[in-house]
Symmetry: D2
Subunit: 276 residues, 4 copies
């Protein structure tokens, strides 16, 4: 016999651009949403019973309707508006899982209605909500950063297959993903997000690093200290290696000047840090 | 205070090509590996203590060494060889998480040493191993399939935002991810994998589908029936919509002949099904 | 003063799926089209005069209308149907540039209406047409192939920066783009395309290669010989290097068994070969 | 008979990071280079004669050597240094084609040695050089921009397949590629590049647009006026459509507030504009 032990369905990559206008001053929000349902949907799998299935096309339509009725002020609030709608309208829905990724747009010369992309970085909010409770996380994905000083890696464990030389001066590049959860009482998610991004960046910049692990932990610690409303933060920092080019075979020195950036293989470091 | 509550590190995207030769008959295995360590590594984060850190560069080197010492017969076995090595050589490593993705190469006209790519499909194995136990899954990721008959979607739940029309004849395309776990006693992982892939494909082809959910469940059920060694299977099948083009405004009929394929938004359906 | 010396506009990434049915036997064509116009469109640039601009949205609509009126038998014929329509309906259009990329779908077990993707390979047709003449090319893009025998690279030019060792036995992998033009009189573009693909593949497989250049030229020559209707062929074959892993530092030999596949940097070899 | 009528070879995706230091102030240049050779290389194709082939691995090595000997001040100068080297050292090389793409890194809070990525935008230089002459172009690729006001599209040519409604207020988004050539006498390529980028952005922001064509031409004109050292500029501006969502079926108005951003299909507009 075959038993259905888990199921989930919904819509992904629902894209939306919102323009709000105050005279000549326009605000742009551009995002992609993923919305998954869990609940009493088993018979659609096991008995071909579609009567329990709200079409994913309807889920998509609803994203636009909810945005029109409740203009998006932050993606965190938009997650909640969507969850509230779906939990209110689909009785057999037990939990809704929403992930929203917002693309950054920066003003061109402080122009009121013209913008240049902020790149591959995404502001992220994820919400898991039932009728009784919710778990909300905010984050930044794809933040590509590089430091060219104050980064070392030495005194590590050596085994028979270790060939990497220790160094007191290397390049340290990563594409960071950060996700955190707040305590209750955040008044302005946009401001809080900007503050945490600033702390992460400035800590990365100033840190005297003995390893990616070392810097990651101190970035997490700084975020928790600077933003007392955060209760937990999870950081993923792949090590996007830039290899010192060996020019000795061409009778040239290379005083940490010429490197080969690589995409693969890639180190991978992650941790979760909690305020107590 | 900041407490480290979770940490993990390792190497991703370690790529390897292995050629084994029996006279003019060559066998190619091409893969990408991800290897993550969990254990007593906290001090590298909290005290800049690298003495606990085996460099990720060493992890990478070891992949090649282990492959050389134990020629790869299946990626499942290779996961185990790698896990066994790392658990044996790093005392404070508690669990190792390995994911291997193999790229398919098909022979050109049954030639002994020339191959054409099997596309974006990947054969996958994931292993989580401690010194006491292991959890192994095998799978297929990125299997792009399409059926042009025997697919309907009607009699679904309708709310105020539902605009999609019911249909008894639509295109059904997906890019499937399947992962399953075996009972003990699999003698030949390569043969088992090929069998399960065949059952999934033929069930998809023949199924009289009322929904993606319906087909997904029957594919899972067929895999469990046909391969008694599987104890559980997890399927993810996004609905890669092909929209019927409305040609009525040009005074043309469209008897299910001309569609617009789309990448986004995309339906998303998943389930886990267990043999009992 | 600023003079407009070249201009072109149109629509790209117009995607279409066509299903033709003969009882239970369905034929699927899936493609993406790019259509560019050149002609007397200057005033739209220089005088904001849109009266000369057929909207790109209309160009997109027309792709579906033309496909409905003239079911697609080959992408070459579809290019011509589209060109004929646009040149017939837009008087100030002087030349139309059409590129169509078709995604391969293979039947699952010879099933009538279920298909599995043929991967990233694309069948391609490009047409440049005016009211007086046309230039048509057919091709294959993204054909990923690998040979593990009969490939050498030695006796090359050596300068002071040459460090690569000569080899009589290396892996040879590429992702080939081929484009060719036919003489008049091709009766069946689908059959001709399949024939040329076969010749290219079998020549690659059997060739005793001294370099990518050497194999590329002999593949082109074989295509011209085997398919007398081709008058010219252009091949691009990047060298997707698989580097022999140096295991000597671990006291292991590596008899051409373990390689590191790489995406970058990549060799690049191209040539055009003409029948006389 | 088969005649070789064109051939070219070289190396692509050669990646390099350069760090130059003045005390605590570091300058980072990160780039990817493509270098192709044309000349008397026919016998490598037709006679398996590798004696004319400088290995592409050597071309790659040389990129790093030339950078070490001549620190990179601008990618334009680096193109010339590379061309000069290769034309000087390979007698049968007739022309060398170099394309360099530089990734933008911005300082974190004006920090001396910490940087955040400038996104997918690339600064580009392309050089075609022989021993007698050169053609150099500079450019920007992948500049993603959006304006939410002063963009209309109306009064266009209408045919039987035109269904798009005219609008006096739409969103206008593009991912621009610009390439230009300078007159002789540019003293500082970095400053010139920054100036042209500024003019392109500010013209885009302020323009009262009747079409993409209209804005593209005025951007080109502005660049030629503001930077008298440019003699020609080529712009490609795909129209990345953001479609007004029709909410009327849900009894909601949509006063240009909620849009659906799309990647495909995409309008495509290009032109070359020359100063006289």
């Amino acid at each position: 016999m075959a038993n259905l032990t888990f199921d989930s369905y919904g819509k992904t990559r629902v894209r939306l651009t919102q323009v709000l206008r105050q005279g000549d001053r326009h605000e742009v929000v551009e995002l992609s949403a993923k919305i998954l349902f869990r609940g009493k949907f088993e018979t659609s799998y096991t008995k071909a019973d579609n009567s329990v299935v709200l079409p994913t096309d309807t889920i998509k339509n609803t994203v636009y309707v909810v945005a029109r009725k409740n203009p998006i002020q932050s993606i965190e609030q938009f997650c909640r508006d969507l969850a509230s709608h779906f939990l209110g309208s689909v009785p057999h829905l037990e939990s809704v899982h929403i992930e929203i990724q917002q693309s950054p747009w920066n003003r061109i010369n402080n122009h009121g209605s013209a913008f240049v992309s902020g790149g591959i970085e995404r502001r992220v909010a994820t919400l898991i909500a039932t009728r009784e409770k919710e778990h909300l996380e905010s984050g930044i994905h794809g933040l590509e950063i590089l430091k060219t000083a104050k980064s070392a890696f030495s005194d590590y464990l050596v085994d028979e297959f270790t060939t990497i030389p220790p160094t007191r001066d290397r390049l340290f590049g990563t594409v960071m993903d950060a996700d955190w959860s707040y305590r209750d009482g955040v008044a302005d998610y946009n401001a809080a997000h900007a503050d945490i991004r600033d702390v992460l960046l400035s800590t990365f910049a100033d840190h005297v690093s003995e390893s990616v692990q070392h810097t990651l932990f101190d970035m997490a610690k700084a975020a928790l200290s600077a933003a007392p409303l955060i209760k937990e933060i999870h950081l993923v920092m792949p090590n996007k290696h830039r290899l010192l080019m060996d020019l000795s075979k061409f009778k040239l020195s290379n005083p940490n000047q010429i490197f080969v950036p690589t995409d693969e293989p890639s180190g991978y470091i992650e941790a979760r840090v909690t305020a107590d």
